[in-house]
Amino acid sequence: MIALLVRDLKLSIRAGGGALVGVLFFLTIVAVIPFGVGPDLNLLSRIGPAIVWIGALLSSLLGLDRLFQAEREDGSLDVLLMHDTPLVLTVFVKCLAHWLATGLPLVIASPLLGLFMNMNEVAIGAVMLTLVVGSPAITFIGAVGAAVAVALPRGGLLVSILVLPLAVPVLIFGVSASYAAVEDPAPFLPPFLILMALTLFFAAIGPAAAALALRNAAD
């Protein structure tokens, strides 16, 4: 399993890997918002956490469709499916590698983008913390979409459409926890704990559903 993790991490940083693409897309989305909204610093800092979260959500959807499709195209998926380790575990490790390669860079880039949005230190910290906790959930949900669309030649958009509705609760609680950290009356902990619960829930359900879809997608 460690071997699979290391291999997927290596693949993501070699040529054609998706690690940098996600961060660049994230940077692009958030960087153009101030140009569109205008130089109203108060407005920017008010919508900042939401924009950073939406940017992170869209960027993490970007490379998800390749999660199993790349394995299928070169025949590796057949061998992975035949192996006697539980497929759920294999899928979980692949999700973990995918998050480390594409989700974690987004979290690391988010403070810089928070500065673009005129967010203060507390808001930047809160967004980063909620992203660390919430973004794995997007990967686990996305794995289900990627597994369902594995045999489709252009499954990318379909994966996004399948995944987005399920990822909406993650977005809602991620953003509301970020706001709660800056705006006084709202408590930070309840939405943050729900966000954690969502991640744990999808970490359990996502790989199982994806494994089921992969088994039945065989052709």
């Binding site: 071997a3 699979l4 291999r7 693949l11 070699r14 070169d74 025949g75 590796s76 057949d78 006697d84």
Partner: protein
Amino acid sequence: MLLSAEGLAARRGEELIFSNLSFDLGMGEALVVTGRNGSGKSTLLRVIAGLLAPEAGRVTFSGAGVEPGARPREFCHYLGHRNAMKRELTVFENLAFWKSFQGGSGGALDIDEAAETVGLGGILHLPYGYLSAGQQRRFAIARLLVAHRPVWLLDEPTAALDADSDRMFAGLVKRHLAEGGIALAATHQPLGLEKVQELRMTGFSGVNADVWE
């Protein structure tokens, strides 16, 4: 060890590709599956590999040290049309990954030995995508050597291989059989094996009411 199939039938879409297909293969035995294109050779191998659910019938693998109820696919190597190697990684990284992932104990070669065996010892450091189609195929064959599995399922194994490599591969299969392994190959090339059964696939068997239950 005994790999047996009883009354197998498989379907692709609406078409029943074959039905009521049975065979038994013991240690050191090989089955060569022949037939024209589209007659179901690959489908049969994928059913045995557990990658396709059979429409009817079942595949079982039994023998010393095999728990009852174990899935046959865990004892199989499957060499399909695609090589299951990553173009971006070096040959060594690819083989090291499969060796570690597939695990398996005795009888496995280490990576250098496996590369020597397929006659490509010196180029382990190259990215897999740089190699020619024949070299890629030979390293895909080396994957079968770095982890031990008693059953080899080979789908057109010698595609893209030259005459020398054909002989090298036939030698590998012979050695695998001599060590008590089992091989199933869908191929047009004579592998030069003794003690080999031949299964001739006749193609679309049409709609058979018995297996549609």
